[in-house]
Structure formats: structure tokens, C-alpha cells
Assembly symmetry: C2
Homo-oligomer: 490 residues x 2
């Protein structure tokens, strides 16, 4: 648990940004600002509970212990009763705020209770209402060209099952209508060719796609995730290192992206074995909120198409509205849709991928496991999606993001030595920036926490914003005041 | 969807086994026997719904579509209103029967609703009540010597995170107190040694440990699971092929097991790189319900101990009472506990492993992901565990299993050409047998379904029983009558 300095006197912050809006809000009972009960955060109760938890569960990464019963809307309550404005939101989850009343209704519904008590093995014994649940929720949210869904249990699981679908698809294409050979059947049981595959998934430098063995092999963000774990010898391509703001450096960025695309095609052409799929995040989140432009992503789409490689977009973190569009890859105006789109977090809920029908294996028990997802999570996702539509939250997030970006830009112009490379213009609240170094980054994170803002880092020295979709101007103003104050003092 | 033959006239079965017990049951409203609404199963509604589902979701493996609202206790209701006695139970899940009233209470509890609506990133923001939830549920069920728990999302996920813990443990032991070297840090990002590991997990022929990339590399049950998927070149050892009943063939079986142990040790001694852990199921379930004796498992424990290899027991299918003990490995009376025990299904709920404290990584973000489990599943598991204890269900399952085994043995003596190798003596309801061939096995499965029993296969030509823990003598009698009738007619 990170230790924070004492800061009671530091909690008086300016009110330069001060929302005058009295528009109706989603959480009328929400606190009007951070609430403090202890000298520093984590307070004594949080520390004590975390120590006790450590006796049975790995607690090395705890920020603070949370009272989820007392958390509300955009405010997370810790065990000591401190209430922090949350712009990290369980690592980019919690789409509709804590204890959202509509989701409580969903959680109390007969449909939900039934799905919890009678967890089905979906691929053998699907429920009478499963198609409706999918159609009224997840599939209604699907991007164009993707009318099939696979339901899994996490972002990692979504990516791994997408990889499996890709391998099966590519081998089926090679095999044609022929059945498996005896040699394939036998060798697969020995983990050997030709039954096991020597194909690969290509990912990008600094990409993050999960932490199970297949997904971790494509994750390239941080060594601490990968050290000591066996990995497949799969290829990695460079991801563009762009200059921000993107609008100011179009020429240089185009050159950088063109270079990366050349390199990608060269890796593909020189690969000793077939690359089944390329996976990419619309914004490399864990790796430092690294952006690329539509030119780059369209290029990746074109190259994969040309070489018969599947194109998987990993929207585990970018998906479901935060970018100002339902799916971040909608910003790209691709000429043809991706082959698969994986997603998870903001649906608080398991993991999924959309695909076109070609990606569905033709035989039973190919893409299969006991649960094949969890209806309770699909029901929750349906509830989240319907609230998003009802309240027009994607568009609102786009506008609020513009307000945040503009004012952060203004604030950061005063502290060019401390913070730079603000990014996420016209990209909703999916905003991030670099700090001078990792020490300063951590100081800023802790100083914000002490002042009542829960914020998260990414990459080596970056900070990312990941508020809810019900984050409003009044919350933005509180955040901006505190951040400006912190930047002036650290 | 398997097609069944019309069978209305076949539904008159004898009543040789006829429970006279009027003891209180868990589900007073449960049907008194199978209920039929359609000529055959799946009926027209089930077929129609499955066809529709196939437009959006992979439905190749569907048995029939289920109305989980109308299912109760040991009876699963299909979309057409047929009610089948369920001895397969969502592939060995559903510990307490469908729509168990105590679990409905759990699902309606404030604790559950809160956990669903506010899904936490547990390793960063654990809830104030998480330790209590674990202690009152899963940890209270822990076998001796295992006071740590890791919470994951499925059996596969539990195994993969256990493997990761094993690799990290073994490398930390080699590394001592030294920090990671620059070469390790750099090479890990390239998926190369020495940062990535060349250690392995050893599994047994016919073992099943899941279907993600790492777990699938240890799965050796069926080619259809493994074909076309990249796999790690990890070693495989022979699993004893025993003769049943075990009590009749002690000498031959001992010889077979001794041979397998010699082979195991030889593989370990000749392995080109370190084996981090050995994983084994107490009964190889998916692979055909293959048993081994305590002698074999004690031998595996001794050999792993001698060579500094971790011993992981995969209780995903055997755990939580069905074997007549809470954990099947308790049958072995091991001299020292396993290092990790993974489990999932009967807790209907995510996946978990128990371990000793040494297996917990010493650094943050080593064993880590966004969710790190799901409190809603831990709460459900707590409810299941408390019901098991309250009603003494493990002991009752042991007794009911003895009744089932004895009578199956009696029935099978009449059909030695059709069924053989009954197994699971003194092993609760975890009972299976072989059929003459795969065709006969499938005929028996379908004929039982037509007569109102939902039954599952395993291995190449075996049938496995996986009833709930609230399966009583009256249910056993209905099942025995139908099975005897089917065997006399197929």
C-alpha cells in the first residue's frame, strides 16, 4: 500500500473552475466534493483491513480498502469514510457510477437472480432467454459488420478465445473441406506439429492484451507482467511514437506511421510461419496511452487484408463510450470492419468478442468450455447499454471530454517542465499526459489522492483519466481545481 | 443438436427400485419423476430457439434449450416443459439443485447486489468485506495446510494463474534475493530467455485442465480441444490404466501404478529444462473418469517433493463434495499437503486456488489482472458452502453414492456385453462406467434422455454421473429404473 504524506492543510484548493450548471444530475445524493475523515489516505481502518486481508489474499497492489456500500456515483468511499472523486474507476470500468439505481434494479431482477442461482453450461444447455439478452444488450451495441458474439469471462479470456477462433479459421482455410488427418490428431496430443499450430498472433510494442499465457505472449507493455512466464515466440511490430498534439505534428507523425507500416509489412513478409491475426488497441492504455491516427489503423487493416491475416481490435479498455464513440475504432472510418472486436471493462462484466459469421468454427466443441460466459454478466451489460442509450451518454462524454481537454491544455501551459504531451483531443474523456519522470508522476497521483481525487497511472510516467460516463462538468471542475493546485505545489 | 428417436411408448419403465423413504426433502415442490410434454427431446420449441440462437452465438454443442425458471431441484426443464432428472448438472456444477431457495436468498442479499453493481478491481481496491466473505466461505472449506486463496474466473483461469504462481516461485528460488537483471527485463519483452521461462508444467496423458493456451498445453484428453492451437512443448507422463473394481485387481494395479511412477521420475530426471509443477486430477474426468489409487498419488507427491517440483491438484471437477469428501484428494491421506489445489465447478462460480503462503509472489503486480476474481462469485460460493455444512451434504453424498454403486453393480451384472468397468466405489456419486463402444454410449445417453434422464458422457465411450449434492435415494431409484430399462432394450 502506497503511503501518503499528511496533508490536511493542503486540502484547501482554489475554485477557479466552478460549474454554474444546475442541470439535473444522475446522482442527486452524490457528495458535492471530496469528503475527508482522516488525516491521510489510506486511513487507519483501511490500513488495518488491508493488513488482515494480506493474511489470506495477495494484497501487494492495494491502493486503499473500499466501502462499496457507501460509494455513490463518481465518488468512491474508503473504509474510513473518506470520499474521493474517482477518475480511475476500477481501472477503467464502472460505466455508470457506483450504486447506480438502474443497475441495482437490474441486479434485483428475476432474470438476474435466476442467472446467478442456476449458472448454465451455456454451449450445451443455453437458456430460453439467452438470445434475447444478447440482442437487447451486447448485440445492440455491436459495431457494423459484426453480428456474432462470443461470451467469455474477462478481457484476457476474450482475447484468448479470439486468438483460438483466428487459429481455427486460418487452419480451416488451409485444410479446405478435408477432415483432420490421423497425424494431426495424434501430434496435437503431443503438443507437436502438424496438429498443434506454429502460426502466431502479431502484436505491437507497448501493447497490452492480458495476462494469461496466450494473451501475455502478445502483451508488450511491462516486464513485471512477463518475467518468469513461458511465452510463445510470436512477432512484435513497432507502434508509432507520435508527437502531441496530433494536429500540430501531422507531417512528422505521418512519416513515423508510414515507417511503422513498412516495418509491419516487412515482418509479415519475412515471418517464418503464418501470422493468423494482428491485434491492436485503439489507444495503448496500459502501455502509456499511446495514440495513433486513422491513417495508421487503416494501413494495418489494408496490410492484414492483403496478406489474408485477421484484424482483431482490442477494445477491452477503449470500448463502450469513453472515447466519445461507442467503440473507439469508429473514429477510424475503416474501409472494411475489423474481423473481431474484443471488449470487457466498462460492461463490468466478463469479456466478449464480436465477429463476423466466418469466424465461428464449423464443428462443435472447438470453441468450447464449461461456462462459455456468464448470463449474469450479459444481463448487467444489457442494463448498462440501455442506460447509455437512454441518457445519450456517449455524446455527453464526447462533449465533456472536449471541456476537460481544453482546460487541461490551459492548465498544463503553466507547468511545461512538469507535465507535457496531453493527448486525447476529440477522444472523449480518454485523456492522458506525461509527467517529467516516474517520481513526479507518483507524487502527483498521491497528492491528488490526498486532496480527494482517485487517479491512475499508465506507461512509465503517464497519468490517464478514466472517469465514468456520468462524469459531468461539475465533477470536471473539482478535478481541474485540484489538479491545478497540485501541479503548482509538487 | 443431437436428434433423438421418438419414444413415447418407451417411457413406461419398471419400478424395481422404489424408494419408500418419506424423509423430508430439500425441494418439496420438485416433480416426483420426469415430466413429458413432447414426443421427443429436444421438442419443437427447443429446436426453434436453438436455431435462432445459432444466428448470433455458437450453438453447435447444444443438447437442448433450458427454461431455468421452471427447473427445480434435481429436475431440469427444457423449453417445451419437459422435466428431466438431471445427473449431469451443467457438466458437474449446480451443487444444490436448480432454484435452491437458500441461494435465491443469497442472490437477493444486499451483499450480492452491491457486488454485482460495483464490480471492483480487487487487487487495487478490495472491499471492506472481502476477507470476511472469503473466510466465511471458501477459506472455511480449505483443506489442511492451505490458508491462502487466489480468486480467478474459471477452472482454466484458476489453473493458469496457479501455473504462473509456480513459475514465479521456481524462478524466485533460483534467483534468490537478487533483483531481475537487465537482460531478464529486456528479453522478457521479446518473449525470449532468460526473461521468459523455459520451465514447464507436467501433466498426465488423458488429463484435462482447461482450454486457454497454457492450460490447453497441459490438457491431453481429446484432439478436438487441441487441434490448430499453438501449444507449449511441455512434458506428459502416463496415467495408470487400472482395472476395475480396484479392490479386485490390487496386485496388477499396483504394478501398473509403480510403472507409471518410474516413468514419471524418469521424465523428470531427463527433462531438458526444469519442471516447475506437476498437475493431476484426482479422477481424470473429461478424459474418461480414470481413477488411480492413493499409492499412486502419494508417489507423485513424494517424487515432486524429492525433485523440488510443485504439486498441483486440479479439483475443478472433483472438488466440493461429490466424491464423498469435500476434496477428493482427502481420500489419499497424503503425507504432506499439495502445494496448490484448484477448483471451480460445484461452486458455480469463477475459479480459485488454495495454496500455502510460499506460493504468493513477493512483489506487487506479479499475479495481477483487472478483476482478480469476482466478489459476487465468492459470495455465492460462501452460500453454497454454508448449505453443504448445514445439511451435512458431503456425508449424505457419500452414503447415497454407496447405494448407487451397489445397485449399478447389480444391474450391470446382467449386461456384461454392454457396460463394464463400473468405477467410483467408496467415492460418493462420482461414478462412471464404460460402454461397449461410442455408438452404444450415445444410444444409451439418448435413450435415457428420451425417458427423462439428462446424462453426460466422458472419455471415448464412458458415461459419468454428476448429480447434485441434494440427490436423494428417491432420485437414485428413478434413475436406476430408467437405466436398467434402457440397458435391457438398447
Amino acid at each position: 500500500m502506497l503511503r501518503a504524506f499528511r496533508s490536511s492543510t493542503l486540502r484547501q484548493v482554489s475554485k477557479r473552475f466552478n460549474s454554474t450548471s444546475v442541470a439535473a444530475t444522475y446522482f442527486p445524493q452524490e457528495p458535492t466534493g471530496p469528503v475527508f475523515q482522516t488525516e491521510s489516505i489510506p486511513g487507519p481502518k483501511s490500513q488495518e483491513l488491508n493488513k488482515e486481508l494480506g493474511e489470506v489474499y495477495d494484497n501487494h497492489a492495494t491502493y486503499f480498502v473500499v466501502d462499496y456500500f457507501k460509494s455513490l456515483g463518481n465518488y468512491i468511499s474508503d473504509a474510513d469514510g473518506n470520499k474521493l472523486l474517482d477518475v480511475y474507476c476500477q481501472i477503467s470500468s464502472i460505466a455508470l457510477g457506483y450504486n447506480n439505481p438502474e443497475l441495482i434494479k437490474v441486479a434485483k431482477s428475476e432474470e438476474m437472480i435466476n442467472s446467478i442461482v442456476n449458472r448454465p453450461a451455456l454451449a450445451c444447455f443455453p437458456s430460453t432467454n439467452y438470445k434475447t439478452i444478447l440482442e437487447d444488450g451486447l448485440l445492440a451495441a455491436a459495431p457494423p459488420g459484426m453480428d456474432r458474439i462470443w461470451t467469455a469471462l474477462s478481457g484476457s479470456d476474450a482475447n484468448e478465445t479470439a486468438y483460438k477462433a483466428a487459429f481455427m479459421y486460418q487452419h480451416a482455410k488451409l485444410r479446405g473441406d478435408k477432415p483432420f488427418t490421423q497425424e494431426e490428431l495424434t501430434s496435437s496430443m503431443e503438443n507437436k506439429l502438424p496438429g498443434a499450430s506454429d502460426m502466431s498472433i502479431l502484436s505491437f510494442d507497448k501493447g497490452f492484451h492480458g495476462r494469461l499465457f496466450g494473451s501475455l505472449s502478445t502483451t508488450r507493455s511491462k516486464a513485471i507482467h512477463k518475467l518468469d512466464i513461458p511465452a510463445f515466440p510470436w512477432p512484435k511490430a513497432p507502434f508509432p511514437k507520435l508527437k502531441y498534439p496530433l494536429s500540430e505534428f501531422e507531417t512528422e507523425n505521418r512519416e513515423e506511421e508510414q515507417g511503422c507500416l513498412y516495418e509491419l509489412e516487412s515482418i509479415i513478409e519475412n515471418s517464418p510461419s503464418k501470422i493468423a491475426a494482428v491485434i491492436v488497441e485503439p489507444v495503448q492504455s496500459e502501455g502509456g496511452d499511446n495514440h495513433a491516427t486513422s491513417f495508421f489503423f487503416q494501413g494495418v487493416r489494408d496490410i492484414t487484408k492483403k496478406h489474408g491475416i485477421l484484424f482483431i481490435v482490442d477494445e477491452v479498455q477503449t470500448g463502450v463510450g469513453a472515447s466519445g464513440k461507442m467503440w473507439a475504432h469508429e473514429h477510424w472510418n475503416l474501409s472494411t470492419p475489423p474481423d473481431m472486436v474484443t471488449f470487457s471493462k466498462k460492461f463490468q462484466a466478463a469479456g466478449f468478442y464480436f465477429s463476423n459469421p466466418d469466424l465461428q468454427p464449423k464443428l462443435p466443441y472447438r470453441q468450447f468450455n464449461t461456462w462459455c460466459g456468464d448470463p449474469s454478466k450479459a444481463i448487467l451489460a444489457k442494463g448498462i447499454y440501455q442506460e447509455i442509450v437512454k441518457h445519450n451518454l456517449v455524446e455527453k462524454t464526447a462533449k465533456l471530454g472536449d471541456y476537460l481537454y481544453k482546460n487541461l491544455n490551459d492548465i498544463f501551459s503553466k507547468f511545461p517542465q512538469k507535465v507535457s504531451n496531453l493527448r486525447g483531443e476529440n477522444f472523449g474523456t480518454f485523456i492522458a499526459w506525461d509527467c517529467q519522470d516516474v517520481d513526479l508522476r507518483n507524487k502527483i497521483l498521491l497528492a491528488c489522492r490526498e486532496r480527494g481525487v482517485n487517479l491512475g497511472g499508465c506507461g512509465d510516467y503517464s497519468i490517464r483519466l478514466r472517469p465514468t460516463l456520468v462524469f459531468e462538468k461539475k465533477h470536471a471542475d473539482i478535478f481541474l481545481n485540484i489538479l491545478e493546485d497540485v501541479l503548482s505545489k509538487v
